[in-house]
């Protein structure tokens, strides 16, 4: 069994009001050096067998089809250690 991590983030040009709210909270809590926060999602996908190129391609298609909305989001994929 292998675990593939898929990180999904809003594209840089898409407004992220949740991230902005977190920046506001940082200031109130005294974390004064925080200039920007972008909030995303992390998926941990467990697959049968080895994370070979064919299985990774399958997870990539899963990410494009379901986990991320390519209209507004980018994703990155990596095999967990």
């Amino acid at each position: 069994m292998a675990r593939v991590i898929v990180d999904v983030m809003l594209k840089p040009e898409i407004l992220d009001p949740q991230g902005q709210a977190i920046v506001g909270a940082c200031g109130r809590l005294g974390f004064s050096g925080v200039e920007q926060v972008r909030q995303g999602k992390r998926f941990e996908v467990e697959i049968d067998g080895e994370a070979d190129e064919a299985r990774l391609e399958e997870v990539r298609r899963l990410a494009e089809t379901l986990l991320a909305n390519p209209v507004i989001e980018d994703f990155e994929l990596r095999v967990a250690e």
């Binding site: 898409i14 407004l15 009001p17 949740q18 709210a21 379901l66 909305n69 209209v71 507004i72």
Partner: protein
């Protein structure tokens, strides 16, 4: 013959009852459709209602898009044959299905907005707005937390240039939508999605106006000149 307009119920749909009521008040026969059945029952048009399909898990509309009922709906809608109206969560489902361009994201304010909303109808050239005059202002209900319409500039320009911006928020978008867009249509004009709720504004007793009824009477007028989906 009375037109038959299907209303899909997904787990978590809230406004399917009101949508069916609006269809009936407009003079059509409402036909309940169930998300898990891959059968549109030969309806002439479909409404995807508001609510929180599948609990809004993952993204609003992301799971509903793959429901069995969508298997027949998506190609029929894409071809221009089947009129489909997506309201609120239904709009989100249409965007996730790529039947409409763009996406709905979290309101700029992060607050859920719930109020009567003035809209300007920009296009009467769709199956769902033919009974309105372009420029006409109507009041319906807006109630959503992830209603901020966004798309890249090229897509927005193309929508504007081709008259596919159907309704705009009057006096500024309370959710921060790009170019105050409240609803858009596909290239054929048979698929329309909008964030505000015309089905909650069809009778004086329960709504802020009766202005929303025009969406439902429009599709009946449209159907009077077209052939039911699936018919030869």
């Amino acid at each position: 013959m009375t037109a038959r307009v299907g209303v899909v119920t997904f787990p978590g749909s809230l406004d399917d009852r009101d949508a069916m009521r609006a269809v009936r008040i407009a003079g059509a026969e409402p036909v309940p459709l169930w998300h898990a059945e891959a059968d549109l029952k030969g309806v002439d048009a479909v409404v995807l209602p508001g609510g929180f399909s599948y609990g809004d898990y993952l993204r609003c509309g992301a799971i509903a898009r793959f429901a069995p009922v969508m298997g027949e709906l998506v190609p029929a809608a894409r071809s221009g044959a089947l009129p489909v109206l997506g309201i609120c969560n239904g709009f989100q489902i249409l965007c996730e299905s790529r039947l409409l361009p763009g996406a709905l994201t979290r309101n700029r304010s992060l607050h859920f907005v719930n109020r009567p909303q003035r809209l300007r109808v920009e296009s009467g050239a769709t199956a769902w707005t033919a009974r309105y005059t372009p420029g006409e202002e109507i009041t319906v209900v807006l109630k959503s937390g992830e209603g901020r319409y966004t798309a890249d500039a090229a897509t927005l320009d193309a929508l504007e240039a081709s008259g596919r911006v159907v309704v705009r928020y009057s006096g500024g978008a309370p959710n921060g939508s790009d170019r105050d867009i409240a609803g858009v249509a596909n290239e054929h004009g048979n698929v329309v999605g909008l964030m505000p709720h015309p089905e909650h504004a069809v009778e004086a007793l329960t709504g802020p106006s009766e202005d929303g009824l025009g969406f439902f009477t429009s599709v009946l007028a449209h159907l009077a000149g077209s052939v039911p989906v699936g018919a030869d």
